[in-house]
């Protein structure tokens, strides 16, 4: 019997999409000039989503470098592994990266988009007395594509009333939208109802919307909400009243308030159940290893890190680090100014295999690598006293910033 010849047509668009979805963005930009149909295929929203799904596995870092000598801020993307192995090769003595104008600050990173926060004040704080209305705006930036959005509509804040703002940026899968949340707070307000106001801006909209007030009082040492699985998470104080001493907070006074970006409703989670804990310093909420993590300084002698292994499950809090500054080879001396501030170490990132934690200590702006498996400590001395560093997980994507 004769073997039927197989008609071998070109690969279908679906298959080409599957193949291209595994490529880094840089090659996709090049392959737009293969032919017209490839160019339009690469810009299809369904392709952008498929590509993003694949890219989420390759997590890079987005760094904000605050040059302490030059007083200038620059931004860069880098490979997580090389940063953890050779931090000083990623960050040269001059910093490198894209300079950021001083009225901007990074709020968050999500699906390849960076949210920048701009204000009429240089440092984003309410310090300039002659203004009675603060103007804030946001820009969205895809550094891989080199595309940046227009300014968002202005968020005008009555400075007579509100004295702090905390922002978060994230993605709601159900509505396929990116949202910015701004939590305004007033420490001296007498009534609960006047104490906070929460505004939401959806990328592409023309205005800010009010949502339900915040259910607790924002504890904004961080001034940045953390995005994880469709929610913005912030530390907050329960039972706040005017005159509250923010410098002496114990762990049982704090909660995590989690705002669901889809439903725009809140949930509260308790922090780890630690008995007889002395006041803690600089409690910080971060996302590491795709989990909410809480770090703090304990008795100014230890750095402690907890991980909420399963999002929203209070029983899943696990202490992953409890290490003395002595072991970290940090000589801790008291903070020279009065107030609720102490020097502390902040977690920056964790290696892919979960072994190595990178800390930045804000006493001498030193980078410290702590291996959680074998307890080894390594200092990246070369960068000492040069940069204040912030890191966000970052993926390269084709997501458009508008």
């Amino acid at each position: 019997m004769e073997i039927p010849a197989i008609d071998q047509p070109g690969l279908s668009d679906d298959l080409i999409m599957e193949i291209l979805s595994w490529l880094p963005v840089i090659y996709l930009l090049q392959f737009r000039c293969v032919c017209k149909s490839w160019k339009s295929l690469i810009s299809l929203p369904s392709f952008v989503k498929l590509h993003l799904e694949r890219s989420l596995k390759n997590v890079n870092l987005f760094l904000t470098l605050n040059d302490l000598n030059e007083n200038a801020v620059s931004l860069m993307c880098c490979d997580k592994r090389s940063f953890l192995e050779y931090p000083s090769s990623v960050i040269s003595d001059h910093g490198g990266g894209v300079p950021l104008k001083d009225k901007y600050w990074v709020i968050g990173s999500c699906n390849g988009l960076i949210c920048l926060h701009g204000s009429t004040f240089e440092d984003g704080e309410f310090e300039v007395a002659e203004y009675d209305c603060g103007e804030y705006w946001f820009r969205f930036w895809n550094p891989t594509l080199g595309l940046r959005s227009k300014k968002s509509p202005l968020l005008c804040v009555d400075l007579d009333h509100f004295d702090a703002i905390e922002c978060g940026f994230g993605y709601d899968k159900a509505s396929d939208t990116y949202k910015v949340v701004a939590i305004l707070s007033n420490t001296s307000a007498k009534e609960d109802s006047e104490r906070t106001q929460v505004k939401v801006y959806t990328l592409g909209d023309h205005c800010w919307r009010d949502i339900q007030p915040f259910p607790a009082f924002p504890y904004n040492f961080e001034k940045q909400g953390r995005f994880l699985s469709g929610t913005i998470n912030t530390l907050a104080l329960q039972n706040f009243s005017p005159g509250y001493n923010l410098g002496k907070v114990s762990i049982d006074q704090l909660v995590i308030v989690s705002l669901d970006l889809g439903k725009e409703t809140y949930q509260q989670f308790l922090l780890p159940d630690v008995v007889n804990e002395a006041p803690i310093h600089n409690p910080t909420l971060v996302v590491l290893m795709d989990c909410l993590c809480l770090s703090y300084d304990y008795k100014t002698t230890h750095f402690v890190l907890w991980q909420m292994k399963e999002y929203g499950i209070e029983k899943s809090w696990t202490q992953v680090v409890n290490i003395s500054y002595e072991h970290l080879q940090i000589q801790r001396f008291p903070f020279p100014l009065p107030g609720p501030r102490f020097y502390s170490s902040m977690p920056l990132c964790v290696s892919e295999n979960g072994d190595v934690l990178m800390l930045i200590d804000d006493q001498q702006y030193e980078m410290i690598l702590y291996n959680m498996r074998d307890n080894k400590v390594q200092h990246a001395d070369i960068l000492k006293n040069r940069f204040q560093i912030f890191a966000e997980d970052y993926v390269e994507s084709l997501v458009l910033p508008w």
């Binding site: 073997i3 039927p4 197989i6 071998q8 070109g10 690969l11 279908s12 298959l15 080409i16 599957e18 193949i19 291209l20 979805s21 595994w22 490529l23 880094p24 090659y27 930009l29 090049q30 392959f31 737009r32 000039c33 293969v34 032919c35 017209k36 490839w38 160019k39 810009s43 104008k101 594509l145 080199g146 595309l147 940046r148 959005s149 227009k150 300014k151 508008w402």
Partner: protein
Amino acid sequence: MAKTPEPKRTISLKPCDGDVIEVSPMIAKQMQTIQSFIEDDSFIATTTIIPLPNVTAFQLSKIIDYLNYHSNSKAVADNVKESTKKFDEEFLKELEHDKLKELLHAANYLNVKEVLDFLCQAVADLIQDKSVKFVRKFFGVVNDYSVEEEEDIRRTHAWAFEGVEED
């Protein structure tokens, strides 16, 4: 002590250019096209031979090899990961560009997700540091841009700048 042989529990697949190949139901299940055949009530697995006019014996056996190896090595231990990587490399080494493309077609026709994903990644790896010319040739795509249009796209790395205003 002789055991009574198990009743035949395999699926018979007939490629376009060779003898019937018997596969276990577990392997057949991963081929969506075959699976929908089997799920059809009128199909009696033990007697019917499923003809595959779009798949050669070589392609079919490659796909079965891949599925067999990977279904036996689901563990996550490092040494298993290492040998799986080695198997995958060897698997691809035997495939020239044309064969790779044809196998991709076959996997697509049989709708075997695991193999399809693997081959798509392999093709992506193959083209990712290649020139646009190579990619056109590999996919048999005709360039429909004018010289100016192509230059234009090459120049602008970003796709569009609409809506972006400078500060």
